[in-house]
Assembly symmetry: C2
Homo-oligomer: 226 residues x 2
């Protein structure tokens, strides 16, 4: 039975990976990453670095079909600006990618053997913005995938905050310096997009060190009111 | 709002297409076909011929991830023989492709706009062999896809037999001579594999003409006891 960890290269799925590695041998674990023409393709370098760190198999699947309906996170003719500010704001709807989590789970399921588990780093802070991150979505998907294909979905942080994740990951010695969150995808984290603000806030609320260099390291404090 | 018809090139999804065309203009309809390294890739020629017949957009998506767990329907290192006999037999389990319908639906969903519908030709005769063809699978998938992405799944033949489909399609003048069922994928239908037997039986039970040339046109009668 293989533990397949769907890894974006960000801190949430990296912490899922750290959780899995605390209980399994490297040969029982496979990382699954996706190249979906995301603007922040930089995150795939982080996913590979995490695979090297934990000495586990890395599998990257290209998917040409995401971003069709237009999203700030994907390239192509219907490119949209990445919104700045707090992650929970209405403007973050521009970062929705139609069908994304369903497709990631489906590809993972197709690559799985019966009995395998698929791990996802979805958390409670994702729920307001992304409808495919809500508990009812994952519960239904787990039920149908288990019934049809004997593959289980595991979402350990579904009801946890991102600050909880930072705290748990700090305890597990997850190498956060290797992870990438920024949606803009430059040389360093911008510090202004929704996911940079959320990242910095999470480390702050968890009261653990943030190893990230932000191009703008003041903005997030203003946004969250510090 | 676009009607996206997932088309294999076989008679079930061709009849779904005929049903959709009876109620929609060609510009409202898109055919979605999959190249998943299926042994019977010949069916994609049929899918294209059906698109030409109905003058609708044809979109073919390659998926490299299916067949990983080994199936009689896919190529690659874990190739398995196509079983002969009746479709409902235990041996037909070899034709299961892990994750297939979930992946097809997910790709359709990623390509859809909110408000679009995804049509599938699944029918009651598929239920014993394919767990991802059963009503609870499709009902759950429709619920989660509708909630997360505003995309609906339509399965008009979910509780119909293949003979019902042949009868309905005959009334709709579906060009069955353009369709392809055989899993072996030769020059003509083999007449011995599960889906050839099922096809011939369906036309017989529906009491409508079968335009198919079977390499062995006696075997199916023995299997179904005629």
């Amino acid at each position: 039975m293989t533990q397949i960890v769907v890894l974006s290269g960000g801190m949430d799925s990296a912490t899922v990976l750290g959780t899995v590695m605390a209980e399994h041998e490297p040969r029982q674990v496979v990382i699954l990453a996706f190249d979906y023409n995301q603007r922040h393709k930089r995150e795939l370098d982080s996913a590979k670095a995490l695979a090297r760190h934990y000495r586990v198999t890395y599998r990257q699947v290209p998917t040409g079909v995401l971003g069709h309906a237009g999203s700030a996170l994907t390239g192509g003719s219907r490119m949209v600006e990445v919104p700045e500010g707090h992650y929970a704001e209405d403007t973050m709807a521009a970062t929705v990618v139609q069908g994304r989590n369903l497709l990631f789970a489906s590809v993972g399921c197709a690559l799985a053997e019966p009995g395998d588990s698929l791990w996802f780093g979805v958390h409670a802070g994702d729920h307001p913005v992304y409808r495919d991150c809500r508990p009812e979505f994952w519960n239904r998907l787990d039920d149908l995938m288990d019934d049809a294909y004997d593959v289980s979905i595991v979402t350990p942080f579904l009801h946890r905050s991102k600050a909880d994740i930072a705290r748990i990951g700090h305890g597990l010695k997850v190498p956060y310096e290797l992870t990438w969150s920024c949606y803009v995808g430059g040389e360093e984290h911008c510090g202004r997009c929704g996911t940079c603000v959320e990242r910095a806030e999470a480390f702050h609320l968890a009261n653990v060190p943030d190893p990230t260099t932000y191009a703008d390291d003041v903005f997030w404090r203003e946004v969250v009111g510090l």
